[in-house]
């Protein structure tokens, strides 16, 4: 398959691995930001093939994982109401709130539907004018353009029965938070390729300079990941900081201007709570004042709902690269994909789920 097979070429991968080994002279800790990268690394066993000196730690880039419990509880409260069609990306349905998830709401009679795009949710609103249609708008900069477009179109067409629960987060403030942490171990980053496809990478340049780290926008296929790791290792070994793009077929420095424009039109930067981590200043997006009529949390009066985390779940440490999933005492015991304590065990991008699905016991084989 074109654009896939060449980036999964075992021969090319072996060459890159040899080059990484040749360049590596000491221990380096590199964080891949995106959960999609984490899954590809684990799925392809790249961590097993790298020299022992290269330690990959897994970043916070899993939108489902960092969506605060509060948003989930509010979503559950809205989805349970009569006359509501609740729409969401599939990943969110299994994320546990304090007592249930959206699948359970559906089994209790709630009209909960999986959509592939927020624009599909908007279409459901057009088709069902007597119902309230709510979309759970979670994600990083990758989902923001389509979520913004859905709200923008709803406003333009005057679709009053459509609203969104916004839990949009941004990568650069999270990177700053990780690098500023007193016990930070991360020395270089593989930046999330798809986030950079939307936003470009100019906003990483000041971070690289301030914290003196290499930041390498990287793709998701094995060859992409190895090329990103190789570049990061080269820069670390040479003592260089800066941003070097290794996902050139998708990412440009400026990103996607049309996507950035629609984000800016509908959303504004706001403080955001990250599940397991806490509030990070300026780390999220919220609806601008002129679109607040589409804010489902206000429309349904659920702002008062707050929630508390399971004390057993250490997903916050996992999301900051401070704890490997299988080092968590609950991993594979109290916490499995069938009975998850936290979202990192649920999402197709969650690090705990990746370890459970692909890695469990393999290292012991």
């Amino acid at each position: 398959m074109k654009y896939i097979d060449e980036y999964r070429d075992p021969k090319l991968a072996r060459q890159l691995l040899q080059e990484i080994s040749r360049k590596t002279t000491r221990h380096w800790t590199i964080m891949e930001i995106c959960g999609g990268q984490t899954h590809s690394i684990l799925r392809n066993g790249i961590d097993q093939l790298l020299p022992a000196e290269i330690e990959l730690v897994h970043g916070p880039g899993c939108p489902v994982c960092v969506t605060p419990l509060e948003s989930i509880e509010r979503a559950l409260a809205i989805a349970s109401q009569n006359n509501v069609i609740f729409t969401s990306f599939g990943d969110m349905l299994r994320v546990p709130g304090n007592s249930k998830d959206l699948f359970m709401v559906r089994s209790e009679g709630g009209d909960v539907r999986i959509v592939f795009s927020p624009l599909d949710a908007l279409q459901i609103a057009r088709d069902n004018p007597s119902k309230e249609v709510v979309f759970l708008a979670v994600g990083f900069e990758t989902t923001a353009p389509a979520n913004a477009m859905a709200v923008y179109q709803a406003a333009r067409e005057g679709i009053g029965n459509f609203s969104v629960i916004v839990s949009q987060v941004l990568v650069p403030p999270a990177m700053r938070a990780i690098l500023s942490s007193p016990d930070n171990r991360v020395q270089g980053f593989l930046a999330a390729g798809h986030v950079c496809a939307v936003m470009g990478y100019s906003e990483y340049e000041p971070i690289a300079e301030e914290f003196n780290v290499p930041i390498v926008p990287t793709g998701f296929e094995p060859v992409d990941l190895l090329a990103g790791i190789l570049k990061t290792v080269e820069m670390l070994e040479e003592g260089k900081a800066g941003v070097v793009n290794r996902y050139g077929r998708v990412v440009s420095r400026e990103g996607n201007p049309a996507a950035r424009k629609i984000i800016g039109k509908v959303f504004e930067v706001t403080d955001r709570q990250w599940r397991g981590i806490g509030t990070i200043l300026g780390s999220g997006l919220g609806l601008r004042k002129e679109f607040e009529g589409f804010d489902a949390e206000k429309k349904f009066g659920v702002i008062h709902i707050v929630a508390t985390e399971s004390p057993l779940c250490m997903s916050g440490s996992v999301l900051q690269g401070k704890l490997k999933p299988d080092a968590c005492p609950a991993f594979g015991r109290e916490c499995t994909p069938a009975h998850p304590l936290g979202a990192t065990m649920v999402s197709s991008e969650g690090a705990c789920a990746a370890y459970y699905n692909y890695h469990r016991n393999v290292t012991a084989l």
């Binding site: 398959m1 896939i4 999964r8 075992p10 991968a13 072996r14 999609g36 684990l42 799925r43 392809n44 066993g45 790249i46 097993q48 093939l49 939108p63 489902v64 990306f89 599939g90 990943d91 969110m92 349905l93 299994r94 699948f103 999986i114 959509v115 592939f116 599909d120 979670v138 994600g139 990083f140 990758t142 989902t143 798809h194 094995p222 994909p337 069938a338 999402s347 197709s348 991008e349 459970y356 699905n357 692909y358 890695h359 469990r360 016991n361 393999v362 084989l365």
Partner: protein, 347 residues
């Protein structure tokens, strides 16, 4: 004022399923005569008794049942009717049994167009004829609009286990070859891409097929086959896990050996789904001694439904109860059971 001379007699000829079609009265009989009997008629069913009476050849009896609720009922490459025959025939055949007789129970939703029902019944009859089985008894119920999705079908099947054959999911032997009869994920992706809400087109068609003729030929050539399963819901991953757990054996499969059609692969890539977790309805997973593998593959490939057969791995002494894939890069990863519904990824 004009008076119509016609008496307002009840409508006898409906074009859709009515509640009265399931009430056992005149309309029920009309439904039988109009839709079911013209296609399914045979010496046993024609008796119209509450049960079919038949003799079976000597040997151990195999008996199975399955219920079909697929949505949409018509999908690229087939419909619920042929699926209901193939599925039950295959469940008998993978146990080493020759299927003989099927029952068919229908739950019909009020308002279902009779033309659709007739198309489905005709497909069932055709599928049964091709597979060499007879539908000998049946039942029809009607439920109110919205109480089922067009129609559900249950089929049960009876067969006789071939003499000298002992296949079982507990029978995997270290060193066995794991053989797959063809490409994975065709049925599940045909269903997914034909559901509402997915706005991409594909030419993916379901692989729904009866496997009994191919299995008969395999067992003629290699009677010592150790295990057979048809990897339906949960896909090949679920089937391999069931075999590994039941036999307390390890299975190692090799990435790149598993046939996946380009369209199916593309759709799976797009939706973030592993083709190994996607349902099949006309494939066979088989475990046999390594020295018999070439013979099994040769027989499989002589059938349309086994054209792309391949050895995908082997039974190993390590990691009992677990399926591990050797990746194209030389690393290893666990192949686990899929968890619940297949969820598309979010970004």
């Amino acid at each position: 004022m004009s008076i119509s001379p016609a008496c307002p007699a009840p409508i006898q000829q409906h074009e859709t399923v009515q509640m009265a079609h399931g009430a056992g009265g005149r309309l029920s009989q009309a439904l039988m005569q109009r839709v079911f009997m013209p296609h399914l008629s045979n010496a046993f069913l024609d008796q119209l008794d509450d049960q079919a009476k038949f003799d079976l050849p000597a040997g151990r009896t195999a008996f199975t049942t399955d219920t079909y609720v697929v949505s949409p009922v018509f999908f690229p490459g087939g419909n619920i009717g042929e699926l209901a025959v193939h599925g039950t025939v295959n469940d008998l055949a993978v146990g080493g049994a020759r299927p003989f007789y099927l029952s068919a129970g229908f739950v019909l939703e009020e308002g279902l167009p009779l033309t659709e029902l007739e198309t489905i019944v005709r497909s069932m009859a055709e599928a049964a004829r091709k597979a060499g089985v007879m539908i000998v008894t049946g039942d029809t119920k009607v439920v109110g609009k919205g109480q089922c999705d067009k129609l559900f079908i249950n089929t049960s099947g009876i067969g006789i286990v071939r003499e000298g054959i002992s296949v079982s999911c507990r029978n995997l032997q270290t060193g066995d070859s794991i053989i797959l009869s063809g490409s994975v994920g065709d049925h599940g992706m045909a269903i997914m891409t034909s559901r509402e809400g997915l706005s991409f087109q594909s030419s993916i068609t379901s692989d729904t097929a009866a496997l009994n003729a191919m299995i008969e030929a395999i067992l003629d050539a290699v009677p010592s086959v150790h295990a057979m399963r048809d990897p339906t819901r949960g896909g090949v991953a679920a089937t391999l896990n069931e075999l590994a757990v039941s036999s307390s054996a390890g299975i190692e499969i090799r990435e790149g050996t598993i046939p996946v059609k380009p369209d199916v692969r593309g759709a799976c890539e797009l939706l973030g789904i592993d083709p190994l977790h996607v349902a099949n309805e006309g494939k066979l997973v088989l475990s046999a001694a390594a020295e018999d593998a070439a013979k099994v593959i040769e027989v499989m490939r002589s059938f349309e439904c086994g054209r792309d057969a391949a050895v995908i791995g082997s039974v190993v002494g390590d990691h009992p109860g677990m399926v591990v894939m050797r990746t194209a890069f030389g690393s290893r990863r666990v192949i686990d059971l899929p968890l619940g519904e297949q969820l598309p990824r979010i970004c």
